[in-house]
């Protein structure tokens, strides 16, 4: 027993602890680097649902979310953005920006009836967002203009499927 204790005491504990600390620190740094890039530079998103057809598929697309553009307000009408839903903060939605603050936006209240158009002016600090598929989209037509603060990032590139690699159609 004393022999075992002596061998235990002879181990380079200080060196082992130092090495463990270094490894942990390295892992923590890697995690932090991933976090910072993910929340401040860019990240990936897997948009699902019919609201952005045909620009984005029902599912299976992988898009790059450019977070710098959102922060510095390099967002213009025609861009697709990812935003926190004003109706449920846990849900993220992808929509196309149709108007920035001060713009007048005309939309159809009922997409099947062309006589129901309405014009609104987007208030200060807000944007008007709509899905490309006006028949199956919950957007500013339902919940009104959204504060710019809800924009998480600009969705400008698709990286999957490879066949459609590149810019997401910037059409209006």
């Amino acid at each position: 027993m004393s022999g075992f204790a002596r061998r235990l005491a002879g181990l380079p504990w200080r060196q082992i602890a130092g090495e463990a600390f270094d490894r942990t620190l390295l892992a923590a740094q890697a995690f932090c680097a991933v976090h910072v890039v993910h929340t401040h530079v860019f990240s990936l998103a897997y948009p699902q649902g019919p609201s952005m057809l045909p620009a984005l598929n029902l599912m299976g697309d992988v898009a790059v979310i450019d977070r710098l553009s959102a922060r510095y307000r390099w967002v213009a009408p025609g861009d697709v953005v990812l935003l926190t839903s004003p109706e449920d903060p846990r849900k993220k939605i992808a929509k196309r920006v149709l108007g920035m603050e001060g713009d007048a936006v005309t939309y159809l209240v009922d997409p099947e009836n062309i006589d129901t158009s309405k014009t609104v002016v987007v208030p200060q600090g807000h944007i008007w967002v709509q899905g490309d598929n006006t028949f199956a989209s919950t957007d500013s037509r339902t919940f009104g203009p959204v504060p710019y603060g809800l924009v998480e990032g600009k969705m400008s590139y698709r990286i999957w499927p490879l066949k459609k690699f590149g810019l997401i159609d910037p059409k209006m």
């Binding site: 740094q29 932090c32 839903s85 004003p86 504060p147 809800l150």
Partner: protein
């Protein structure tokens, strides 16, 4: 890199690592925010510059679930200008009814929204002007005051009970 600069390398590496860890903690867990303005007086000292105002500690854990309680003090992006950060008290939660102070009108808070007001009603620009705000604008919940030392401590929840009703 020249031999004479080799002692700078560990320093640079250390500061980058420190910044990464600091940003991550501040984004995900806890952050320190200086306050200014008079809208939250007397909870926070009224001051015209961030240097003389109170410094508060805000937690980000609440952003995982967005579960708040009436009376929480929250940080949120101003709905009119996304670069400005406001700190106000949360008065009513989604689905609740609130009586507007100016009129006797009662409105229902829509789903995913909340009603925020400053403690100093006379000098606060809040939901009474811009209406209910989406919960998604909230970026943290203030839990403690950490500066000045005389006010150091946990923040209490309170709200005008007579004005809200859960039905």
């Amino acid at each position: 890199m020249g031999r004479s600069h080799s002692h700078l390398w560990p320093l640079a590496k250390g500061s980058v690592a420190g910044a990464l860890i600091g940003f991550t903690i501040s984004d995900r867990y806890l952050t320190v925010v200086p306050t200014k303005g008079e809208s939250m007086h007397p909870t926070f000292t009224a001051s015209d510059s961030a240097l003389r105002g109170d410094v508060v500690l805000a937690e980000r854990g609440c952003l995982q679930t967005y579960k708040f309680s009436r009376g929480d003090v929250v940080l949120f992006k101003c709905p009119r200008n996304h670069t400005e950060l406001f700190v106000k008290r949360l008065i009513a939660l989604p689905g609740e009814w609130i009586r507007l102070p100016a009129s006797s009108e009662i409105i229902k808070i829509p789903e995913g929204h909340c009603w925020v007001e400053g403690d100093n009603a006379a000098r606060s620009w809040d939901s009474r002007s811009f209406g209910p705000i989406p919960l998604g604008l909230i970026t943290g919940r203030v839990t403690h005051i950490i500066w000045p030392p005389s006010k150091m401590g946990r923040l209490e929840r309170k709200w005008p009970e007579s004005r809200t009703s859960p039905f």
